[in-house]
Symmetry: C2
Subunit: 420 residues, 2 copies
Amino acid sequence: MKSIIISIGDEVLIGQVVNTNAAWLGRELLAIGIPAARIITVPDSEKDILKEFKNAFKEYDVIVVTGGLGPTHDDITVKTVAKFFKSKYVLNEKVLKHVKSIFARRNITMPAVNIGQALVPEIAQVLENKTGTAPGLLIDKAGKVFCVMPGVPYEMKYISQTGLLPYLLKKYKKKITKVIRQKTLHTIGIGESLLAEKIGDINKIVRKGQDFEVKLAFLPSNYEVRLRITAIAASTSRAEKLIVNAEKIIKRKAGNFIYSSGESSIEKTTGELLKKKKLTIAAAESCTGGLITSKLTDIPGSSDYVMDAIVAYSNEAKRRLLGVKAETIKKYGAVSKQTAIEMARGIRKRSKTDIGISVTGIAGPTGARPGKPIGLVWIGYSDKKATFAKDFIFTKDRLRNKDIMAKMALEIVRRKLINV
Amino acid sequence: MKSIIISIGDEVLIGQVVNTNAAWLGRELLAIGIPAARIITVPDSEKDILKEFKNAFKEYDVIVVTGGLGPTHDDITVKTVAKFFKSKYVLNEKVLKHVKSIFARRNITMPAVNIGQALVPEIAQVLENKTGTAPGLLIDKAGKVFCVMPGVPYEMKYISQTGLLPYLLKKYKKKITKVIRQKTLHTIGIGESLLAEKIGDINKIVRKGQDFEVKLAFLPSNYEVRLRITAIAASTSRAEKLIVNAEKIIKRKAGNFIYSSGESSIEKTTGELLKKKKLTIAAAESCTGGLITSKLTDIPGSSDYVMDAIVAYSNEAKRRLLGVKAETIKKYGAVSKQTAIEMARGIRKRSKTDIGISVTGIAGPTGARPGKPIGLVWIGYSDKKATFAKDFIFTKDRLRNKDIMAKMALEIVRRKLINV
């Protein structure tokens, strides 16, 4: 069982749009055991589209097409589908009603051009699109499934999830012999090799049997290491059990360093811990410029534990807003253990929160001083019982530094909350 | 003249990596007049790669291949290239020296496996890669150019810019009959139709002659509208002149609403204005949670005009840190014109900056109250001469709201600084 993804549109070829649709479809098709063996981007040209349709229909079981379903003259996908399958058009009343209702909701008279979106090749089944005007079209012919969806990402995802993927799962139930499941575990601020050492004997995780396989990949990027577990098995339930098992072994060994499994973020994990423990937090930010608090407040409900924050970019602000002593800055510098500690304690006391966190560092591209390179950061932590600071040297890139410094600060809070 | 981009790698097909390389290459190939007519992603399989190489060599003038150049067993691109061109390997001393020097710099002995990266098909020219170990390979045969580069984005970009693109420009100088140039102008907080009205007669911009064409596209997204000018002409200088001319006409009519042309951001434009006018700024942020100040401090040198900021998430913090009156919040609510004004004035006075900016709103997904829907925001502005607040209703999505609210606040500062 293999599939092909065909993306239609000049805007993809000229790099105006990055093809995130193909990546999303690739993941989903892999998950149901019909992995994509090709992704092809084709211009808005009937000749080119027909050529790729022909090739695809010869070689693949499932053909997934996105793009070119809009109401204007350069949207030629449906016309080309009708031509390819030598099918005439019919007006689909249900689609017409839906398109009309979308305009009615906005109090706009439907432009005549949109009637075209309800003209459907007779051979096709309509896949409902509650998120937009153009429906998905599915053609089941010669044991193969050919599906066309709009290129707007959320419309494509809606139609895939409610129409295409359930259809494929049902149709090919017996033919799908291999199901693939993946899960990613996230770590911050622990090196790849140290992580590997903690996990220990890899052969307890990575295994291959006659009808199954478990793989583990280390994916490092910008001081984060993701661990991706892949399980291949004959059924979804078996693959999921293999994932659960591998995750258990990893967590037993290195669980404290894994801040989340799946799609979660460090701000979500730390936020949930704060909420659960009914603790409040405030940040005193220098080089992160508000990014720690912006991340924390990305999470709905964060007003339960985030009260306020101070961005003290200048030395004067560190003194006035956080009570850092002038002599501390003079003696040790603004980027120092001592300043980080006074900032963390200062914000905690002034904001009357349970936890104060602080960051002072050199984000770059300039600002290095002898013994203080670009990328150096001191992260301070303070609660009623303990106050400390840790230093790290990250990259030479300002934006990457801001991001990893903010994440590391939240990771330090997380580790403290679980007593690591 | 047309090109094809071939991306090699299972990680792209399974959606683990989004193919940003192809988008970047698409833009660059378009710019030099050799647009991509296909983008194809192929698995790490010799058979599949050979098949696509064969097709590509038959139909396209330029074949650009990325990925699969690493030192490990699953990187089979170079081997497949040698097979395709029936060329034997030679050890390239220059590449070997370079690979060795990279390891030496890190004080690591070069693993034996990396010697393989210096083995180059005899038919290929080496394109230097200062950013990594694997060089680019270029084969010029039968009037066609075939080029292989690593999949790591910054390595691919380096080799393209220093090796591939200059080579193509030189080789096909006489054959390139159409050059395409594009420029994008950015606006925030002005509707597409109002913008079109301001620009006026579109036919003064959009024009088509025998050997040239100028196009204009309106690209709206999340309360921003980008204007993309495209010029097609026989030479780079002619195309660039057409762009300059179109930009002039647009700016004469709607220039005040365009915060940047090209790749700039609102935080960069507003920051540059503050720096030029020697003004300082501080933000009082509620629902944006520090994002305005984080954006401002993304710009190197922002410490010249950003002193500090207060994130006053709770009502208590608005009173304590900004001096907002308890009765103001009680009477009008935290999300109100009056609170926004007191926040902006409060931060300006306490931080002793020239400008104070404030944001108080409902980011969602919950928190709506009668008359105050999700997405409502009041943005306050205060300087020595004027203090005011403006309201907007944005989306129902928390992260999109935070982003556009922060950008709109910076846009309000920009407009005030240029007296719009």
